[in-house]
Symmetry: D2
Subunit: 393 residues, 4 copies
């Protein structure tokens, strides 16, 4: 069996989830090739060494370009803030590496386009970490739609609602366009656009209307060190600075199969800590998912005898019947947030080992379609008009 040497560029929150995935993978899965946790990059030498020790990376580096160029490396895992996705990915592809990049693919559509062009020319394979595809319940939804279980998709409601961003939160980089590119839109809508495209197997063709709103327009400047090395307003406790990204973005859309859809991302939707989900109504059945109960999929089968029709709560933990379940625990010994990442790491190794992934992984090309939808929605909000996704290239 071959071995893939991984270099992970970045070590923040996503660095933890990816390190966990790479280290847990061989304990629960038998991939066709194995992955070695070769090198982790971080800006701060002491910090990255401690991180490497905690998570079992063999080498720690403060020079990402060297790490990416290292001939020993096979796969570059990009977990930086969004503003470095393009630069690191392009360098890695140029160096002939496979690239697995965090979502969204990039900060802007232009960057995404460059990445797609590079991927087309490169010999390495590309992957984007849209981790929620690999929740067993979401993967089960995909399989049910593929099997025709809900018929033609007519209605989609997708939402990713959080509530962490009240007035007490200072002006961290997530509220500054320079660092993040976007607010809730790139952070949250990106996930649900990908998830809807994945589960329905359809493209979003038009944005019929959109709203972008920033409820809290000024925030206190950060008084301590800033996160991720990205410039954010830093100052005394009584100074404030402007928020330059959205708190919430809602949009209406049409899908390639003739359906209609609504999307909503929010950071002040009080009562929802991580409600990432969808409702899909088809001509023969329907599906509902809410990540806060991530092990459950709701399925309505309108072909059953009417007397017993209803929403069925499927606990997606049965090995052999629900994707990935056989690698973990017995029935209803439920999974958590990080398992989706481990499942994806496994599928990346399947692909690199010449096998089909359990369910499709988005590559740069695929993630670019998601990015176009994000871009079209913002144009619609700003220019106050319907926007065809085909306008965005």
């Amino acid at each position: 069996m071959g071995e893939i040497n991984v270099a992970m560029i970045g070590q923040g929150f996503m660095g933890r989830t990816h390190s966990n995935a790479w280290s847990q993978l061989p304990r629960f899965f038998k991939p066709p090739v194995s992955a070695a946790m070769h090198t982790v990059f971080g800006r701060d030498a002491a910090g990255v060494q401690a991180f490497a020790k905690t998570w079992g990376w063999r080498h720690a580096s403060t020079d990402w370009k060297a790490a990416v160029a290292d001939p020993a490396i096979d796969l570059v895992d990009v977990v930086t803030p969004n503003n470095m996705h393009a630069e690191v990915s392009l360098a890695a592809l140029k160096a002939g590496k496979h690239v697995a990049c965090e979502k969204p693919i990039a900060r802007t559509i232009e960057e995404a386009r460059l990445m797609v062009a590079a991927a087309r020319e490169a010999k390495g394979k590309t992957f984007i970490w849209y981790n929620y595809r690999r929740c067993p319940a979401v993967a089960t939804a995909y399989k049910l739609v593929q099997s025709g279980a809900i018929g033609t998709v007519r209605h989609v409601r997708a939402f990713y609602l959080q509530d962490w961003a009240d007035e007490t939160i200072p002006l961290i980089w997530r509220f500054q366009k320079e660092g993040s590119g976007a607010g809730s839109h790139g952070d949250l809508n990106a996930h649900i656009i990908d998830m809807v495209r994945f589960v329905t197997g359809e493209e979003i063709t038009e944005i019929a209307g959109a709203i972008a709103e920033t409820f809290i327009k000024e925030r206190k400047l950060v008084t301590g060190p800033t996160a991720g090395g990205i410039a954010a307003g830093v100052g005394g406790a009584d100074k404030t600075g402007p928020v330059t990204v959205d708190d919430a973005v809602l949009f209406l859309a049409r899908t390639s199969g003739g359906g209609v859809a609504s999307f909503e991302a929010a950071r002040q939707a009080t009562g929802n800590q991580n409600r990432n989900g969808f409702e899909i109504n088809g001509s023969k059945g329907a599906l509902k998912f809410d990540f806060e109960r991530m092990n459950e999929l709701q399925f309505y089968d309108a072909t059953r005898p009417r007397a017993v029709q209803g929403w069925t709560t499927i606990m997606c933990t049965h090995g052999g019947d629900h994707p990935y379940a056989e690698n973990w625990w017995p029935d209803a010994h439920v999974l958590g947030y990080e398992h989706g990442f481990t499942n994806q790491a496994y599928d990346i190794l399947r692909v690199l080992g010449g096998q089909e992934p359990v369910v499709p992984i988005p590559d740069f090309e695929d993630a670019y379609q998601t990015q176009r939808v994000l871009e079209a929605a913002i144009i619609s909000a700003v220019e106050r008009r319907p926007v065809s996704v085909s306008e965005v290239r």
Copy 2:
């Protein structure tokens, strides 16, 4: 079409639900014979006249014996406190009337036995108002079990949990054995014993063990007038008297089909206002019901493909597929508490008109079986031993 003249004996809370049932019936149903609200009996002349006017009873009476003996009357509806069930029913049967009596059939097993014996000799038909059988969801459960949908019943969990009876409630008649016969046991366990017998189609054969508990042993004496004309402690605000009935009764049982069961009635189960329901697990499927969501039945069909197995929430409001639903409103225009009574009034008229009821109604004989289980459970609690229901005759 014939017309049945009804005399209702009693006018308390149950008097309201029955009056509502008789008056709503012709507006939503087309029974084979109609019911006329002929006479209502109450102790207090002014009170019963006002009641008759509000609810549309043609006559008000303070002489129940005359009302029961009146040749114009066809059906006597008994809604008195439990301690009058036997006396009124026996008189009515003797007078050749049909009798529909509130549950439980009687205060004691001896009374119940007399009533059964009288019913056997009488020409009138008998009915007990176990109203929850006629919630569409419970009736749907019955039909599913009958159809074999859950296979052999192995486990039953039945519960009727309330929480109204905290320390602030004074010593009303419900806490005094003289008036009520029993506490939560006769009030609440009676319902769930009947419901389990109905839904499973099985008898309870043995009580394996039981607990009867009174958590609040003394209560303040009632300072105002007492309810139902029944003697309860009445006194100054600072005096208390002993509670002489149970607050909670739990018991374990075996069923005639080889299953095991638990029952629980409670009046201080904080957080449960009217949680009357069951869980039944069979060899091929399972059912759950909770009256607080009375329009819904939970069904687990273990014969479905494993990938889509789960608990299905059936909204039992579809006309033609769920019992009684076609007489009310469109899909998911949900029903409430009182509809079960109207459904039963309809079924009583079906029986009196020579038709089958939509689902079986318990007669005195049938309700006596429920009473035997209640009695066996109390013996088990008091004598601290298993008790066969066949001991109780």
Copy 3:
């Protein structure tokens, strides 16, 4: 106590719910004036006489103009199809009557404007039957928002999803613009616009974008008699005709308090029989309601200690604490669909008797605001642009 003579114009589905409300009212409520079920109007003499007998109307009439003009009548209750709302209401107001009209106020904004103008000049009071306001859970939501329990409203998600209209349903009048004015929009969005305006106490100021869609564009012609006397395609079993109304309308909006909102009405949202509800997220708390569990309100109180924060399911059946509950049954002896109408009939009598209603009832002026939002949404969908509600007059 005075008595109000009611003439009800119409006798379809809504005629049943209103008749039920008027007849149940005196049994459960003590209004300051009573209502007499004086006259019901229907086109068909035999039909209306049978209807009057079933429901207890004293007189049956086939001449609505005479009924409305009858000096004995105090209140005209309009339950005709939408295309007669204006004509009947105007005649009634002109005759000096009070008018209670079914929703939506009218088929077109022009009609609604005429009705508002007439109401301003008239001595009679006006009411619109937006019945869902008077579900105890919705009224509880209103009171919580009024009390400041959720702070500033930031997000609203409103939805009214049904699934009855699949391909098997023929071309009844509900699918023809001539009879209904609109499809799901007037039928369903009307309710949720009113409910959001009521609960939040805010106006909808702008439609940011909208989609109107007809999924099933041709339907089989009706072969039997048509409903409501309204022309619909009638023909052989193999002929079809065009659907001229929407199946679904979605729109995004802004509210007067600075919040953002989405609305969706659907008739083919498989799995949802009558999911009429909302989610409202404020700066201090949040609320959720779904009519399919109409007795429950979900409340998130973000001012509670964080360790015990969460969504609280309030069973809105506690007399004295939840509006209307004390008039019905004990705790968690749940209410059904029709109770909202009875509650409204009570509140109409409170107003006519000089009291405040338990919660506000929309008059023509208020319902006109809802109509403007409906109109603005349709303009937005058709003209594919944002529309300020102030444009619509």
Copy 4:
């Protein structure tokens, strides 16, 4: 910081969960002493070596006595089948080691007594892996009860329902008394007895009645190799052998604070894959937990204003407010089954490092109390009488 060398005896299903716990621990927690995965024992040399490699144990051994006696070892982690718990634990204690043993403490009450006696004399500390205590939701329940949030406990309903054991499952060791000691009782009731004792802080004092039932009395003999090296019936496909343990055990009990309780363990409760939970009703509030939604705790606070009382679903994932949450992921990025074990491994290291555990861990003495309750329940079922737990010593 000191380092604790761990020897794990056993490598089955529980060996995986414990290995996962020890290896994940340093990545998410900062314990006062660290743990080294020193040696794992298994019967099969090749198997244990592969296991050691997969999970990162430094040494693999086929001689558990040597492993336990090894002076390098500080802590012995016992994950064998139940019939070896006593022997291994006694040897380890004698060798001066700390011992962390899987539940239930032993196969019989006699063995448990020996283990307690040995623990009293030993210098090593003892721990039992009742892992569900350390689900954040269960630990939150404990803290709420401790704080007085539910007042005096009156009602407990505890259940651990599974449905894996239908007729298709052959006669594996779990169905043979020799290997397992008991069926569902030791496997499942052990957990919920511990959980109830933990959350309520009370002891179970009396078993009022019990039922033990084996629904499937004969099973096909196993044709392949048997699990865990334990003798089970092995034979041709058409031969069967007797099941010698219970499928289900139900019992009623009284608690030291005056409450009443029911317990139920089941392996054929169709529709429940791993429903391990409780309902506890106190005089001031109530709690509900169901492991199938392990991140959620239901709390009813009866001291809140009545208008907003209801069941609150607490998502127990908020760092700082819910035990263990700050070591894992952000709000509502939910945890899974195995996290409880990692949390316990952390608490073991806290204790060995001289700190208080986050919530109490049962030692042998504490687990012996649970064992007494198990034993008393079985006596009650067999002898058909109430049994005081004080009888069992």
